[in-house]
């Protein structure tokens, strides 16, 4: 006897019926409304006092291309410095040594507590405080020669970034299970090797999204270095509009370049995340 024959009657067989698609009237309506608003705004800009031909012409002039390449060079180098500092400070903060702990906490406090633009100006004007830098009697240089816009921007952006990155890294390190430290210790690993081989690779999975966020922030924060004469894209755009007065056109040029760079970074983040999620997303994918 079949098991189904003993079931109660009066329940129709639904197994062959399809689930009908829902009409999403509200979605169509709101989408249309938004497109209409965008069209009005777009029309306003098209008819406004903007010479779009200038935008097209200046989008690829050498000064702008050089500017965006300087922007990227600075963003990558300052972020690298920030990550190195961030890892070191996060590890110091998590150590049981009260001296290391206090130094780390003081660093984060100081550089998160003051505006980035102020820090950039301080680095750039360091010569006012220390006319010469060096070891007394052995070697010294004039601070004006050393504190170029490039180095000032790198130090200012990188050290400031380190203060933020250290907290991201600390969160990542704390997210790794205590059992991982114990397992590494049990096979005779020392603290540094445990950190490098076992803990950080697992922490990277957690910190990639916030670090990507920080990097996107960094790309745009480089524009602040325009105040200390670093020739990044906004600085160069400003120099051009000082000469030809096409202010809005050149700001749009710079804006388009920032948008393009950030758009490219998002798929890169996906690749990184996949790399660091080795072993954890295997079942989901």
């Amino acid at each position: 006897m079949n098991a189904t024959e003993r079931l109660a009657q009066g329940f129709p067989d639904l197994s062959r019926m399809m689930v009908a698609r829902q009409p999403h009237w509200m979605r169509w309506l709101t989408a249309t409304a938004i497109l209409a608003v965008l069209a009005v705004i777009g029309r306003a800009f098209a008819n406004g006092q903007i010479e779009w031909s200038y935008v097209g012409r200046f989008l690829t002039v050498p000064a702008i291309l050089e500017g965006i390449s300087n922007t990227m060079i600075m963003a990558v180098l300052a972020m690298a410095l920030g990550i190195v500092l961030g890892v070191v400070v996060a590890v110091m903060r998590l150590s049981s040594n009260p001296v290391l702990k206090s130094v780390a906490a003081g660093y984060t406090w100081l550089f998160r507590g003051t505006p980035l633009i102020l820090q950039l100006l301080l680095w750039f004007n360091l010569a006012l405080v220390f006319p010469t830098i060096g070891i007394p009697g052995l070697w010294s240089v004039r601070a004006v020669d050393v504190m170029t816009p490039f180095l000032s921007a790198l130090l200012g952006l990188g050290i400031n970034q380190g203060a933020y990155t250290s907290e991201v890294m600390r969160a990542g390190i704390l997210s790794v299970d205590v059992g991982q430290y114990e397992a590494a210790q049990a096979i005779g690993m020392g603290r540094l090797r445990t950190l490098r081989r076992i803990i950080l690779p697992q922490a990277m999975r957690v910190v990639t999204p916030p670090l990507s966020n920080e990097f996107i922030g960094m790309v745009k924060a480089t524009s602040l270095a325009s105040v200390i004469q670093y020739p990044e894209v906004l600085h160069n755009a400003e120099n051009i509009y000082y000469a030809n007065s096409r202010v809005i056109e050149l700001l749009i040029v710079a804006g388009l370049w920032y948008l393009l760079v950030v758009s490219i970074l998002t798929p890169l983040q996906m690749l990184l995340e996949r790399r660091f999620s080795r072993g954890t997303l295997q079942l989901v994918r």
Partner: protein
Amino acid sequence: MTKPLVAIRSVSKNFGDFQALKQVSLDVRAGEVLCLIGASGSGKTTLLRCVNQLTPIDSGGVWLDGELLGVREERGRLHRLTERQIARQRLKTGMVFQRFNLFPHKTALENITEGPVQVQGRKQEDALAEAMELLRRVGLAEKADAYPSQLSGGQQQRVAIARALAMKPMLMLFDEPTSALDPELVGEVLTVMKELARSGMTMMVVTHELGFAREVADRVVYMDHGTIVEAGAAAEVLGGPREARTQAFLSAVIR
């Protein structure tokens, strides 16, 4: 009488106000399988962790293979060893955890070769060959390239045993190795442990598997409130315990 492989003498350990171990002394001879039983909070896991210094002791001493662990004696005072010296001492013991603690970002094979290659500086190809041999021994040769998340609990624990064995320890410590497993997976892990015991490995096993203890252990130690209540041959302690507390524990466990 030959010197014991592990000598634990008057070891005490407090966690804040909680006395986890009170003046515990115990010997483990080479080749012996010792099972530690007792209720949770009785100190059996703490005692095990003191032997490979995951938990530093407050007072007393632990000797492994004649070497005092964690401290050195100099002019009547004890000085703590450095991190590096302690790491070197740990190489003599292998540890298997309740929650496996495999490295999730490494494959089964990489988990096993990590210690030999990174810590002991062995050649990659030698370590790989030995790791494959160990995986065969625990019956998981076909899972060499699987990540821990792709393995069942029982398989993960067997990889963890292989990882500990890869360091060629003289003593294996098991901290409730089957407690986190689904009931149908306990057998495969116990089988591997029995095979290991038969091969002559010295083992200290914290366990609730009294069947395993009865079958495999040379000696059973019953602990309660940070002290050893009763220790002796497995058949004696499990079959006819002398202490009232041991009797109460056993009758509560064997329903």
